[in-house]
C-alpha cells in the first residue's frame, strides 16, 4: 500500500485501515466536488454575460459593491479554511477529540461571521440601493451566484454541527474520520469558489 492514495489529507501514517477505506470514498467525493464546480462555473459564466448585458438601467456592479465588507468576508472565510486545516491535523494525529472539536468550533464561528456579513450586504443592497434580485437580470444572477455559495456554506455548517454530535457519540472512529475528511474538502472548495467571487464579481465589479 502506498502512503499517498488521494489528493488532500491522507491517514496512511496514523490509521491504516481507515486509510485503505478512504481511497474510493474520497475519490468519489472529489468527483462530486467536480460536478459542483461545474454548477458554479455555469453561474460565473451567466454572471459574466448578465453583469454587462442585464443591468437594464438599474444599479451596476460599481454602484453596489463594498470592498471593505467583501474584504472582511474574505478574511473570515480564508481563516476558517486555515482553522479547518488545524482540525484536520488534530483528526489525523490525536486520538482524543478535544482539540479537533475546538478547531471545528472556531471554524464554525468564522463561517457564521461570514454568513452574517454577507447577509448584511444583501439587506443593505435591498434597503439602501433598492437593488433586490427582481430589479434586473444582473441582480438576479448576482443573488443566485452569491446565494448558492451562501447555501453551500450553510450546508457545510449544518454538516459540521452534525459531525460534532457524531464525535461526541462515536468518538474519532473510522467512519467519522472519513466524513470529516470529506467535509474538509467541501469547506476548502467553498474557499476556492469565494476567491472566484471576490475576484470576478467584487474586484472586477468595482475596478475603474
Amino acid at each position: 500500500m502506498t502512503d499517498h492514495h488521494h489528493p488532500g489529507l491522507n491517514l496512511g501514517h496514523t490509521d491504516r485501515s481507515t486509510h485503505a477505506a478512504a481511497e474510493e470514498m474520497i475519490f468519489g467525493f472529489w468527483i462530486f466536488l467536480m460536478s459542483d464546480m461545474v454548477l458554479f462555473a455555469l453561474l460565473f459564466a451567466t454572471y459574466a454575460a448578465m453583469s454587462v448585458h442585464g443591468v437594464a438601467g438599474g444599479p451596476a456592479p460599481a454602484d453596489l459593491f463594498e470592498l471593505k465588507s467583501a474584504l472582511y468576508q474574505t478574511l473570515l472565510l480564508l481563516t476558517s479554511s486555515f482553522t479547518f486545516g488545524m482540525a484536520s491535523l488534530a483528526l489525523k494525529y490525536r486520538k482524543d477529540t478535544g482539540r479537533l472539536l475546538f478547531w471545528m468550533g472556531v471554524t464554525f464561528l468564522l463561517g457564521a461571521g461570514f454568513l452574517v456579513l454577507e447577509a448584511r450586504d444583501w439587506v443593505k443592497m435591498v434597503t439602501e440601493h433598492n437593488a433586490p434580485p427582481q430589479r434586473s437580470g444582473f441582480l438576479s444572477i448576482y443573488y443566485l451566484l452569491t446565494g448558492t455559495h451562501f447555501a453551500h456554506v450553510s450546508a457545510g455548517m449544518i454538516w459540521m454541527a452534525v459531525m460534532a454530535v457524531q464525535l461526541a457519540v462515536f468518538g474519532n472512529d473510522g467512519p467519522v474520520k472519513l466524513r470529516l475528511m470529506r467535509l474538509a474538502l467541501f469547506w476548502h472548495m467553498l474557499d476556492v469558489v469565494w476567491i472566484g467571487i471576490f475576484t470576478f464579481v467584487i474586484l472586477l465589479g468595482v475596478a475603474p
Binding site: E24, G28, S35, A49, M50, A56, P133, G137
Partner: protein, 689 residues
C-alpha cells in the same frame, strides 16, 4: 391561509371533464382514469398476493445493483407504455385535423407533445440505459457491486419521484405546454400561468440530480472496482461506453439543474433570468439547456453503441473488430459532444461564422461514428452469424441509423438548417436516431441480458414477431415525416390546412399503430416467457456463448456476483476461461463476503422528493417545508446508523458455488444451432476443447 395552496377542486381531471365534456377533456379523463385504475389494480394485486413484504424487503430497500437495475427497467417500461400511447393519440389528432379541428384541443395537444418528449427522454431512455448499465457493468468488470450502493438506490428513488409527479399530473392539474425543452419566454409566468410548467420543472429536477449521482457512482466503480487483471483496455466495450456516459452525466446534468432552477426563480420569485424585461435574456436558457441537451444526446446513444458492440461480437462468434478504435471513437464522441450545443439554435441570431464553426464541429462527430459502423460491419465479416432477436435489431440499426446520421449531417449545415429547423424533418431525424439507435438497443439488450437477470430466456418467436412489427412500424411512422418536413410541415402542430399531407399522415399513423402492436407483443412475450420459464430456464448462466464476465456465473447471479474476484488475463475474459477450461472451477479457498444491508433510506428520500415536488408545484408551502425537513432528517439520521453491513460466511458462499458447479458439470453443453431451443440450459459447447 390556504392549506392546499393554489390547488382547487376543478383541477381534478374528472371534474373538469364533468363540467366541460368535450372530446378533449374526455380523453384527458380517460388517461387519468387509466392512471388511477392502474395504481388501484397494482395495489390490490400486491395485497391479494401478499407481496408487500417481499416487495419491501427484496426490492424497494435492496441496495443490490442488479435489483436496482431491474427496478429502473420496470419504471422505464411503465413510462414507455404511456409515451407510446401518447404518440398514437397525437398521430390520430394530426391525421384527423387536416382542414378540421380533430378531437383534441390545441392546449391538450401541446401537453401531449410536452409529456411525450419529457417522458421518453428522462423517464424511458435514461432509466433504461441506467438500469442496463447498473445490472451489467459491475458484473462485466468482475465487481461485487457499485462503489456506493446506497447512493445508487437514492438515484433510482429520485428518478422515480420525478416519474411519479408526471403521472400525478395526468389526474391533478395540467402539464406544461412548453415542449420537452421548456423554452422561455413561453414558459415564463405571464405566458404559462398555471402549474403545468412547475410540474415539468419539479419532475426534471430530482431526475437530473439522480442522474448526476448515477454518473458519479458508475465512474468511481469503473475506476476503482475492477477485478484483478481487468486493465482499462481489457474491459468489454460496454464498460467503456458506460464510463464515457458517466463522465458526460457528471458534467452535463448540472446545466439542466441550473436552467430549471433559474426558470423556477423567474416563475416563483420574479427574478429576471429569461424574461423579456429588466435585462432577462432567453439566450441564457438556450445556452444552458443545450449545454446539457447535446451531451444528453450522447448519454442516450453511447450506451446503445456499447450494447451493439456486445451483440455483434457475441452473435458473430468473434472478438470485436477494431476494439481500440472503438474505444477512441467513443472518447472522441464524448469530447466532441460538448462542442456542438449551438447547432440546436442556429436560427437564433449568432453570426454566420459562429454557426459555421459549430456546424463543422457537428459534422466532425460523423467521423468517429462512421468508424464504429465499419467496426461493427467488420466484426460480422467471416463470423458465424446467428440471427437471434438482438442481432435482428442490430442489423436493422446499422441500416436505419446510417440514414438518420446522414440527415443529421444535412441538418448540421446552417444553411440547410435555416430552411428545415423546427419542421417535421427534424422530428423525423431525432426519432431516427433515438428509436433504432437507443430504444432498439435497449430492446436488444433486454433480450440479451434478460436470461442472465431472470434465469430464463425470453420466447424467441414472439421476440421476432415484435421485431417484425416494430421494424416496419418505425419506417412507416417516421420516414413520411422527412417528406412532410420538406413540404413545409412544422413540428408541434395540432391542425393542418394542406390536404396533400393526408396520405403521409395516414402512413405515419399506421406506423405508430404497428409500434404500439409491437409493444403489446413484447408484453405478451413477457407473460408467455414467465409461464414457460421452466422450459426456457438457463440456470448455468451462459445461454449465448458469451464472451465477458457477466456470463461466468449462474443465472440469476449470486447476490455477491462472484465468490472470489475473477482473475482476468485478457480481453473477452470469460471466452478465454472457457477455452482454457477455467470456466467452471472452484477456488482454492472461499472467504467471508461483506455486503451492504438493506436500507429504507432511498424509498423514504424518493417519497419525500415526490411530496416536495407536488407541494412546490401547487404552492403548498407548509408541506414543502415539512418535506424538505423530512429529507434532511432522514439523511442525518442515516449517518448515525452504524450497523450497515452484513457478512455472508465462507461456508454459505462455498455451498452455493459448489451447488452451481455441480449443476454446470451435470448439464450438457450445447452447440450454437440449438441455442434457441429448450435444450439450451445455459452451458455453451466450446469448439476445439
Amino acid at each position: 391561509m390556504n392549506w392546499l395552496g393554489i390547488l382547487e377542486w376543478h383541477d381534478i381531471v374528472f371534474l373538469r371533464a364533468w363540467q366541460h365534456p368535450s372530446s378533449s377533456e374526455l380523453v384527458a379523463a380517460g388517461a387519468g382514469g387509466i392512471v388511477v385504475l392502474g395504481a388501484l389494480a397494482a395495489l390490490l394485486l400486491i395485497t391479494a398476493k401478499h407481496w408487500w413484504r417481499p416487495l419491501w424487503r427484496d426490492w424497494l430497500t435492496s441496495l443490490d445493483h442488479k435489483k436496482i437495475g431491474i427496478m429502473y427497467i420496470v419504471l422505464a417500461t411503465v413510462m414507455l407504455a404511456r409515451g407510446i400511447i401518447e404518440a398514437n393519440v397525437m398521430r390520430l389528432q394530426q391525421l384527423l385535423a387536416v382542414d378540421a379541428p380533430g378531437y383534441l384541443s390545441h392546449e391538450h395537444f401541446a401537453q401531449l407533445f410536452s409529456t411525450h418528449g419529457t417522458i421518453m427522454i428522462f423517464f424511458v431512455a435514461m432509466p433504461l440505459l441506467t438500469g442496463i448499465i447498473n445490472f451489467v457493468m459491475p458484473l462485466q468488470i468482475g465487481a461485487r457491486d457499485v462503489s456506493f450502493p446506497l447512493l445508487n438506490a437514492v438515484s433510482l428513488a429520485l428518478t422515480a419521484a420525478g416519474a411519479a409527479l408526471l403521472m400525478v399530473s395526468l389526474v391533478i392539474g395540467k402539464f406544461s405546454t412548453g415542449g420537452w425543452s421548456g423554452y422561455p419566454s413561453f414558459t415564463e409566468k405571464p405566458f404559462s400561468p398555471g402549474a403545468g410548467v412547475d410540474y415539468w420543472i419539479w419532475a426534471l429536477t430530482p431526475a437530473s440530480i439522480g442522474s448526476t449521482l448515477t454518473g458519479l457512482n458508475f465512474a468511481v466503480t469503473i475506476y476503482k472496482q475492477r477485478a484483478p487483471g481487468m486493465d482499462l483496455f481489457r474491459m468489454p466495450l460496454f464498460c467503456w461506453v458506460s464510463l464515457c456516459t458517466s463522465i458526460l452525466m457528471i458534467f452535463a446534468m448540472a446545466p439542466l439543474t441550473l436552467a430549471t432552477l433559474m426558470l423556477a426563480l423567474d416563475r416563483y420569485a420574479g427574478f429576471h433570468f429569461f424574461t423579456n424585461a429588466a435585462g432577462g435574456d432567453v439566450m441564457n436558457y438556450a445556452n444552458l439547456f443545450w449545454l446539457f441537451g447535446h451531451p444528453e444526446v450522447y448519454i442516450l446513444i453511447l450506451p446503445a453503441f456499447g450494447i451493439w458492440s456486445e451483440v455483434f461480437s457475441t452473435f458473430s462468434g468473434k472478438t470485436l473488430y477494431g476494439y481500440t478504435s472503438l474505444v477512441y471513437a467513443t472518447m472522441a464522441i464524448a469530447v466532441l459532444s460538448f462542442t456542438v450545443w449551438l447547432h440546436h439554435f442556429f436560427t437564433m441570431g449568432q453570426s454566420a461564422d459562429v454557426n459555421a464553426a459549430f456546424g463543422m464541429a457537428t459534422m466532425l462527430i460523423g467521423v468517429p461514428t462512421g468508424v464504429k459502423v465499419y467496426d461493427w460491419l467488420l466484426t460480422m465479416v467471416f463470423g458465424r452469424i446467428r440471427f437471434r432477436v438482438p442481432m435482428l435489431y442490430a442489423n436493422y440499426f446499422l441500416l436505419t441509423f446510417v440514414l438518420g446520421g446522414v440527415t443529421g449531417v444535412l441538418l448540421a449545415n446552417p444553411g440547410v438548417d435555416f430552411s428545415v429547423h423546427n419542421s417535421l424533418f427534424l422530428v423525423a431525424h431525432f426519432h431516427n436516431m433515438l428509436i433504432p439507435g437507443t430504444l432498439f438497443a435497449m430492446f436488444a439488450g433486454f433480450h440479451f441480458w434478460f436470461p442472465k437477470a431472470m434465469g430464463f430466456r425470453l420466447h424467441e418467436g414472439l421476440g421476432q414477431l415484435a421485431f417484425w412489427l416494430l421494424a416496419p412500424g418505425f419506417l412507416l411512422a417516421f420516414f413520411p415525416l422527412y417528406a412532410l418536413g420538406l413540404m413545409g410541415g412544422m413540428r408541434r402542430m395540432a391542425v393542418w390546412s394542406d390536404p396533400s399531407f393526408t396520405p403521409w399522415l395516414a402512413a405515419a399513423m399506421l406506423g405508430a399503430m404497428l409500434i404500439l402492436a409491437g409493444l403489446c407483443v413484447l408484453a405478451l412475450q413477457l407473460v408467455v416467457s414467465i409461464r414457460q420459464r421452466e422450459a426456457l430456464a438457463v440456470p448455468v448462466g451462459d445461454p449465448w456463448d458469451g464472451r465477458s464476465l457477466e456470463w461466468a456465473g449462474p443465472a440469476p447471479p449470486f447476490e455477491w456476483n462472484f465468490p472470489v474476484p475473477p482473475e482476468v488475463r485478457s480481453r473477452d475474459a470469460f471466452n478465454d476461461m472457457k477455452r482454457d477450461g477455467r470456466a467452471h472451477s472452484a477456488p482454492e479457498r472461499y472467504h467471508d463476503i461483506v455486503m451492504p444491508k438493506n436500507s429504507a433510506v432511498a424509498p423514504l428520500l424518493g417519497l419525500g422528493a415526490a411530496i416536495c415536488g407536488f407541494a412546490v408545484t401547487w404552492h403548498i408551502w407548509w408541506l414543502t417545508i415539512a418535506s424538505l425537513l423530512g429529507l434532511m432528517a432522514v439523511t442525518v439520521a442515516r449517518s448515525f446508523v452504524t450497523n450497515v453491513e452484513k457478512t455472508i460466511p465462507a461456508d454459505e458462499v462455498e455451498r452455493m458455488h459448489r451447488a452451481w458447479l455441480d449443476r454446470a458439470s451435470a448439464t450438457p453443453a450445447i452447440p450454437r444451432r440449438l441455442e434457441a431451443t429448450t435444450d439450451n440450459r445455459g452451458k455453451a459447447e466450446v469448439p476445439g476443447t
